[in-house]
């Protein structure tokens, strides 16, 4: 799976959780860039990402995820 594939799948999770069709993520998207991406939804999104890719992030890994690019890289590292 490429980074682009992961990004598209994460984008679909965002659309599902935020109940929006027009979510356009880039690697540089950060918390606050996307309407509706608040603390509560962040928790839900992270949990959905873990379920979707069948992975688990620990606390220190979660702290390092500063933008969507970081999330994609972390997912890739876990599923490889």
């Amino acid at each position: 799976m490429t980074k682009e594939d992961v990004l598209i799948q994460i984008q679909d999770i965002f659309k599902l959780v935020l109940k929006k069709v027009d979510v356009a993520l880039t690697e540089h998207s950060t918390f606050g860039d996307v309407a509706g991406w608040d603390s509560l939804n962040h928790m839900i999104i992270m949990s959905e990402i873990e379920k979707h890719f069948k992975i688990k992030f620990n606390f220190r890994e979660v702290l390092k995820l500063k933008n969507i690019g970081d999330v994609c890289n972390a997912v890739l590292a876990k599923i490889e």
Partner: protein, 502 residues
């Protein structure tokens, strides 16, 4: 600088600004600011403010040194501050500005929201003011003048203004200091609350009276992650947090180690003993303290040092302990008669921390403030408590969380407690009543979980609770929404599960 003899929080901050210019005052978004730098910002803003005839000044709350300097400059100029929030709808900010009679708002020139309504309110861009020393600042204020106005949500939808005078604030400061904190200029203290919420006042000002450093959390960050990142990375020694924030972090408790934390304050909502018990191992050297208080009685007015064992509680909700020095309490029945020890009633508080009345609202003030038979004015908190034989107040829930169904009095907290027990305290639970024509008709149980054994839960509840207390429906949502004060937002939960009241 003229000496002020009575306890005065602003004067004490001013003294530190002059005597500890090299100390770090703030740590904001990975950047430290010294008391010297803070003082120069305050000097510039204060110089601008003293030229204005306004007594009340608005501040657009951002997480930056200019915002914090603005709060201090308003206080040092003897004026009153009101916080507006950039993430609030313009309409709400405008209503607050009108209620407070604002003419000027301090803000950053880069803020997008630098207009309100018809442009009759002027915005002052703080960065445009050249730094100025505070050495010649003349601080002398009237104790009856207001320090700040806090707006709380009113049941009618119109924000309610709570004016807190300098006398209120300093009575609080005096009593808070007497709690015996072992803190000094070397401490690193957390400020995670929205500035629209009054707990931010003490989280911000108290460290500055010590010469300590305040570590802030912006509203644009994932709050619970940022808080724990700061606690761990910067070895924070004092942190006041909401129980909801701890609950969000609870999946990671086993990975968190905070040996430097000396004090953990839980505040703003009921704290559950099991949650704190699970957090003990993460903060092995910290004293846990529950601080309680309505905004109307200035931030906090009771305290309970939470023991690691045999913590006093009611349905799992930790006791709120004893009143602050100078404050008096009464537990009363529905007719306002004082109740004896161990009987549950509404908590009334009296003393120098209690406000004089809501802003321009004598009707609401008359409903909230009452002269008791002892001749003293009490604020009716709306909270249910028991005072035990040791004098400790045990919090039992909100008065309005007590409902009647078919004549039976039901405390929603009791159902929540029982459900949590079945779920091994792994999930948050709320019970929401629905009303028909103003009468409570049925109860909905909402679990913060993706999956759980709903059949088993209902069977368990039916064994533990009388029939009239059993919820009609059980719902689950993966994560409970919290409001800007980080409290569980029951109204939004009701919307999410589509409960309709008529």
């Amino acid at each position: 600088m003229k000496e002020i003899k009575n306890k005065d929080i602003v004067y004490d901050v001013l003294k530190v600004l002059l005597t500890h210019p090299q100390n770090n005052a703030f740590f904001i978004e990975d950047q430290a600011y010294t008391y010297g730098e803070l003082g120069n910002q305050i000097g510039a803003i204060q110089d601008c403010l003293v030229r204005l005839p306004d007594t009340v000044i608005g501040i657009m709350a951002e997480n930056n040194i200019q915002t914090y300097s603005s709060i201090l400059a308003v206080l040092m100029s003897g004026k009153t501050y009101v916080i507006l929030h950039p993430s609030y709808p313009e309409d709400r900010n405008l209503r607050i500005a009108k209620l407070a009679g604002l003419q000027h708002v301090l803000c950053l020139s880069t803020l997008e929201q630098n207009r309100l309504g018809d442009n009759s309110i002027r915005f002052i861009a703080i960065e445009s003011l050249p730094p100025l020393s505070i050495e010649k600042l003349k601080y002398q204020v009237d104790g009856a003048a207001n320090a700040y106005l806090i707006f709380t949500s009113g049941s009618t939808g119109e924000p309610k203004g709570v004016p807190i005078s300098r006398n209120n604030l300093n009575a609080f400061y005096d009593a808070y200091g007497k709690l015996g904190w072992k803190l000094s200029e070397k401490d690193r203290m957390l400020q995670m609350f929205e500035l629209t919420f009054d707990v931010s006042v003490v989280s911000l000002l108290y460290p500055l009276t010590l010469g300590a450093c305040v570590y802030t959390v912006g509203y644009k960050e994932v709050k619970y992650l940022k808080v724990f990142e700061l606690l761990e990375s910067y070895e924070i020694t004092f942190a006041a947090v909401t129980p909801s924030l701890l609950q969000l972090m609870s999946p990671y408790f086993e990975e968190i180690q905070l040996p430097s934390l000396k004090y953990l304050i839980v505040t703003a909502e009921a704290s559950h003993k099991e949650l704190l018990e699970r957090f003990r191992d993460s903060a092995p050297n910290a004293e846990f303290v529950n601080l309680y208080g309505p905004s109307e009685a200035t931030i906090y007015c009771t305290y309970y040092r939470i023991p690691s064992q045999n913590c006093k509680h009611y349905n799992g909700m930790i006791a709120i302990g004893k009143p602050f020095d100078g404050m008096e309490i009464m537990i009363v029945d529905e007719d306002g008669n004082s109740l004896p020890t161990d009987q549950m009633g509404e908590l009334w508080v009296s003393g120098p921390q209690v406000m004089n009345g809501y802003l321009n609202d004598p009707k609401k003030s008359a409903l909230a403030l009452i002269q008791a038979v002892d001749g003293k004015t009490y604020y009716k908190t709306g909270d249910l408590c028991i005072q035990n034989a040791d004098g400790d107040l045990i919090y039992c829930g909100r008065k309005d969380s007590q409902v009647k169904i078919q004549g039976f009095r039901i405390e929603l907290g009791e159902i929540e407690y029982t459900a949590k027990h079945f779920l091994s305290n792994a999930h948050n639970v709320v019970v929401l009543p629905t009303t028909r024509e103003g009468i409570c008709s049925e109860l909905h149980l909402v679990i913060e979980a993706e999956t759980f054994d709903s059949v088993g839960l209902l069977q368990f509840l039916s064994k533990k609770l009388p029939k009239y207390m059993l919820p009609k429906q059980v719902h689950s949502i993966p994560q409970f929404p919290v409001n800007t004060s980080n409290k569980i937002d029951r109204k939004r939960i009701a919307q999410l599960i589509s409960i309709k009241n008529d």
